[in-house]
């Protein structure tokens, strides 16, 4: 029985060896498994990709702020080391911004529709709420982009994708972004119409779809709750920081009570520090994992939609063929 292993709690920033056991982009089998949750369970990291067989190493590092006349944005250094013949040089170092990663992902989705593409960190952040240029935010994003690149690089199929190659090696990406956007729109239109034409969806895919919807919803709620808790804890922290020192002030005018009062003050300070650690751990370890799953589920849903689409096309063609057969039969 395959077991789903959870990510480790502590992760240092410079970790290159992944001890994260999250599903990577292993292909989704279209023959249905017994239950939707066991499907998820079966997506497991293949641990036999160890150092000796890897010939492509990618890291995302060194975020820098880039100021131009029109906008300000962050670029990341994408460093590649490889022995593969598909690459002209053994080493590359290019600067990419988030838009570029987004382009890459879209391209991968388009060209490898049957594969589950790893998720990117969230694209949009509310300008008033989150500081896009704060160290914390940039670092969190960098980590997520690094994970993304590593997953693609380790994928036996995706890593050989020509767009991936271009992303790693080209000086300037010829993205033709506009086209990519259009094609994506066109496809989503296709998905919608495809849905309407479906005669019946196999039970297991319906169930999976329903499950995924609910699951996303629950994860989203949990994410919101966790964020709210962090917020409440921060506000609690603010008050605690003011609370402790009052005891110290009081201790100054007392004789017998001085020691106990200072004792209370230092206890409050300890609680305050512990709370700090807790809040930090929640932000750094818990929330990102939740978010990754939400994004993964989004990917899965797209794959399911594509499957629906293919079924729709198939059914349409079947109908058309049957119709022509009839025509021919009636003509003769």
């Amino acid at each position: 029985m395959t077991r789903f292993s959870s990510p480790s709690q502590k992760q240092s920033a410079q970790e290159s060896a992944r001890d994260l056991s999250l599903p990577n982009g292993t292909p989704v089998e279209t023959s249905s498994p017994a239950s939707s949750s066991s499907l998820l369970n079966r997506l497991q990291l293949d641990d036999d990709l160890d150092g000796e067989t890897r010939d492509l190493f990618v890291t995302v590092e060194d975020p820098k702020k880039h100021v131009s006349t029109m906008e300000t944005y962050i670029t990341y250094k994408v460093a590649t080391k490889t022995t593969r013949v598909e690459f002209d040089l053994p080493e590359y170092s290019v600067r990419r911004r988030y838009q570029d990663f987004d382009w890459l992902r879209t391209k991968l989705e388009d060209t490898q529709p049957t594969h589950l593409i790893p998720p990117l960190p969230e694209k949009f952040v509310m300008k008033g709420v989150v500081d896009r240029f704060s160290e914390e935010f940039v670092e969190t994003r960098r980590k997520a982009l690094d994970k993304f690149m590593k997953r693609v690089a380790d994928h036996p199929v995706l890593s050989f994708n020509e767009h991936f190659n271009a992303f790693l090696s080209a000086k300037d990406l010829d993205k033709r972004r506009g086209l990519a956007l259009l094609s994506k729109m066109g496809e989503s239109v296709k998905y919608v119409t495809g849905g309407y034409k479906l005669r019946s969806r196999p039970v297991e895919f319906s169930a999976m779809g329903d499950y995924l919807d609910m699951f996303t919803q629950k994860l989203g709620t949990i994410d919101r709750i966790a964020q709210r808790i962090i917020k409440e804890q921060s506000e609690y922290q603010v008050e605690l920081r003011e609370y402790g020192p009052v005891y110290t002030t009081w201790a100054l005018s007392e004789a017998e009570l001085q020691e106990p009062l200072e004792g209370v003050a230092s206890c409050v300070a300890n609680c305050s520090n512990a709370l700090d650690e807790l809040t930090q751990d929640m932000s750094e370890d818990f929330l990102p994992v939740l978010r990754e799953y939400v994004l993964y589920i989004d990917s899965m849903k797209i794959v399911l939609k594509k499957r629906d689409n293919i079924q729709a096309e198939y059914e349409t063609k079947l109908e058309a063929a049957a119709f022509r057969k009839e025509e021919r039969a009636s003509a003769t």
Partner: protein, 436 residues
Amino acid sequence: MMADSGPKEVAVIGNTDLTSAELDNNIKNTMVEIEKGTSLLRKMEISVAEAEKRTGKNTVNMQELYTVYLIETRPVDALTEGITPDSLWRRYSEFELLRNYLLVTYPFVVVAPLPEKRAEIVWHKLSADNMDPEFVERRRVGLENFLHRVASHPVLCNDNIFYIFLTEQDKDWKEMVYETGFQAKADSRLKAVNAAFRVKNPDGRFTELKHYSDDLQTVLSQLLRVRARVADRLYGVYKVHGNYGRVFSEWSAIEKEMGDGLQSAGHHMDAYAASVDDILEEEEHYADQLKEYLFYTDALRAVCRKHELTQFELEMVALDLACKKQQKEELVTGTVRTFSLKGMTSKLFGQETAEQREAKLQVLEHQLKEGEEAVKEKNTESDEFVKTAWVDIERFKDQKDRDLKEALISYAVMQISMCKKGIQVWTNAKECFNKM
């Protein structure tokens, strides 16, 4: 348990002898009593057992809703176990009257404060409504505490008015209090402020005490305010965790293997969120203990003010005496050292006759004698006051240190218990997650 008639005598249960309730005698008795260690509280169980709402007409003849408190008393005696206590009802304003009477009659005593009239420093869950049952309950406890403080005070416990307050429903207690004429004895606020400014040589200890009271008041007010805010925020943190309970429950419905684990974990989250109500109730008790000492600072300042007043009066009388002495000297020696109306008039209208001078001298002598008497009296008064006040202040300081140390310890114990409960909940939840 009937008190003897007459406002000046006190009937007692038990064997303690008491002379009349004259102030001087009381002071003497206090000195003796402290050594004996007796107090009313040892002889009598006092409690504020209940609170009830009544309607009645107030002073402007309008219907109003007020709360009355049941005071129960019973002698502490093996023989009286099981006998129903005597009881009577009093409202908050009567407690106030009692306290004002005590303040005026025993100005050298740091008189215990009453609980809040209106709920002031509260955190959001507690309402600021005087009719709110939780507020009434806390006030009931505060009133009982006040009575215990007074009954265990070596001086105050012997006061007859206090005794009747506790035991006699029939007598018109209010009338009795007014009849003592205490209101006339009360120092006007203006007088006190004036003295505070102009006094030249107050006892340094009282000045220090005044500063201490001010500091304590400031710091305790701040502490209570911040604590209320901390409580508010803590409430928020706990309650939001309750949302986890709901979402885990919903999530468990769509899961197969993880369902049970999620469900159990959800229950633990609900328990966690619910636990904060009890925690904060307990903390209110700590806040009340701090509040009592916050209000005590007023009593401390009152004693300091009284000292300044008596000292000031002494200084005034002494100054007056010095003035008169100088006048006499001038009259006797015929010299006018300072500019005075006398000097001017004598320059303008000529010296006075010998008879006139003699007459004046007589008057002055008389005044001088009176003045010296006054100074002696005031001196004694001031000394007595300083002595007795300082005894009570030392008593108060010891009480404060003991009480607050205890309060801090039980606060710490509370916090430890809260953290332990938290650890328990999360350990349980973790087990649920591990089993999933």
